[in-house]
Symmetry: C2
Subunit: 339 residues, 2 copies
């Protein structure tokens, strides 16, 4: 392997000079820099990650804890991950993948063995058991989602409460009086997943505020689950003319079932989806939606981690404002049968 000494010899300088050229931590004459950079390229030198980590206590690795459950929307998770790797690379960092299954012990292991400089945690719960551990580690950490007690941890996410409000307000503005929420899987609610609860909060509050009849139901991410959910909505709240669907996986099934029941979208039923923008167009009808800004959130999570590593960061909770785009699946409410 090519070492820093090889480069130094080749360029006719000392190893420390090579190190400084690479890190930019002290000024180097133009001529020396040029020679060193040439040698680096010529020899194809890459610093040994372990040696660097040992000497500098910086690994240039970010740990990302992802959920592997299938009840979460997998493509959405993947978009976060994609955005995170990409921006990590922009900061010359790599991403280490951990699973939520490893739990708090996994976080301790990462910290104690100095495998990563910072930890980014996805799929945060309301009563998040990893929060105390994360605090005790005294290491840069970013949560994607907001637990009940974030303490001094940095959090970033879409403002799901506002998103819930926005969806309801849109339907209310169109004159709908009876609306329903097709939510995530029951399991997602049961374990107190942060985003699900926050969305529900905004949905309920704004429905009450605007005087709407509103019914919120969790929904298993299967065709049968959706059918059951829709059955219940139409039975318990006949005359429903607006549906908010916060569960991308069942959108195709929802549209298929509405069609099967002769409920036309948006004429008989308005539908607002909560999903990444690039998923609104694959369903035969362009969906009115509140965007989940996966790219922004993933990138922001990495940036906030990097800022902590640079030592110039206050703890903060960064909630991105929701953006609703009106497309073809919502319309002014009429008086039509919906059951």
């Amino acid at each position: 392997m090519v070492t820093i000494s090889d480069v130094a010899r080749h360029a006719g300088v000392s190893p420390s000079t090579v190190s400084y050229v690479l890190s930019g931590k002290r000024s180097i004459s133009a001529e020396t820099r040029r020679r060193v950079e040439r040698s680096v390229r010529k020899l194809g030198y890459h610093p040994h990650a372990g040696a660097r980590a040992l000497a500098s206590s910086r690994t240039n690795v970010l740990a990302l804890v992802v959920p592997l459950r299938v009840d979460l929307n997998v493509p959405v998770v993947m978009q976060f991950v994609g955005a995170a790797v990409t921006s990590a690379r922009a900061y010359d960092h790599d991403l280490l993948l951990l699973t939520k299954d490893e739990g708090p012990d996994g976080l301790r292991r990462i910290a104690a063995s100095a495998i990563a400089d910072a930890i980014i945690v996805m799929d945060v719960e309301f009563a998040e058991p990893r929060v105390p551990v994360l605090q005790s580690l005294r290491r840069p950490a970013v949560l994607i989602g907001v637990p009940a007690q974030p303490g001094d941890l940095t959090c970033v996410d879409l403002d799901f409460t506002a998103a819930g409000s926005t969806c309801v307000a849109h339907l209310a503005d169109l004159g709908h009086r009876k609306i329903a929420l097709v939510g995530p899987s029951p399991a997602v609610y049961e374990r107190g997943t942060s985003y699900a609860g926050r969305f529900r909060l905004g949905f309920d509050a704004t429905a009450a505020e605007r005087g709407l009849r509103a019914l919120a139901r969790p929904c298993l991410p299967t065709y049968d689950g959706l059918r059951g959910c829709l059955d219940e909505i139409l039975r318990r709240q006949p005359g429903t003319t607006g549906i908010v669907v916060h569960n991308e996986a069942v959108v195709p099934a929802l549209l298929a079932e509405l069609r099967a029941r002769r409920l036309r979208v948006p004429r008989d039923m308005s539908v607002v989806a909560v999903c990444p923008d690039d998923m609104v167009d694959n369903h035969g009808i362009a969906l009115t939606s509140v965007a989940i800004p996966t790219a922004e959130v993933g990138q922001l999570a990495v940036e906030l981690a990097m800022r902590q590593l640079d030592g110039v960061a206050q703890p903060e909770i960064r909630l991105l404002s929701p953006r609703l785009t009106t497309r073809d699946s919502t319309a002014i409410a009429g008086r039509r049968r919906t059951s």
Copy 2:
């Protein structure tokens, strides 16, 4: 931080003894082992990853190169990843995530900076540009997929050629005479993605062998894409009674469109899907399918990498035999209109 010397002092032994207890590379008296292990637990010791890597030239990290394209089926990719992390952890290894976008240079970087012990590559193309680099690195590597010239690289995947044959044979056995393939995105074919081509190969060969009329079309993973694809199939090959769909993303759209055209499944149209087993049941009808064994493949990839690291491995190409499960979406062919 807790170092190996801290543990040694606490247990009243030398650092090297602690190291040997942990690695199991030489025999240790029961008593000493007990004392050391107690100290390790008591102090919460985890070896410093960088130091270990520097001294042993082993990182206990596996690099996994994933595609972040959206034209590939994301949940399937995620299942591979999940299986890979989980089995890597079983071997006390972590997974580093690289993106295909980094290309050959990314592989070189990983190797040169000794960031990972082995590399697992997903989304392999027929004329895979990363193969020569991988060979030159002389490091354990596993491809998920099979390139045209694997050389002495280890490959693992479902036997997609056999899978294509199996689907056709199933339909032929049921008496279907005109069948079609709804394939992956055109882009997937265009870049010569290994699994797409191999499946197509098996499909075409067996259709010819069994004397079937067969039409294979790529399909964009959108509702409109599917509609266009289905239009073309029914127009260019009227009387088609069997469809093989090798593109999980469009399965909901396919079923919805068939219903919209009054083509009942399986009465008027038999449908065979190629997808992971846990995705056959979310569509209102249980689909006859050939399983993509994501868990097995992901796990096997890791195992083959570990075996190479242990130095006891021959290069091999491991193709898993397809398994077709008959469910409710295929039936004996009748004489019915399909256009």
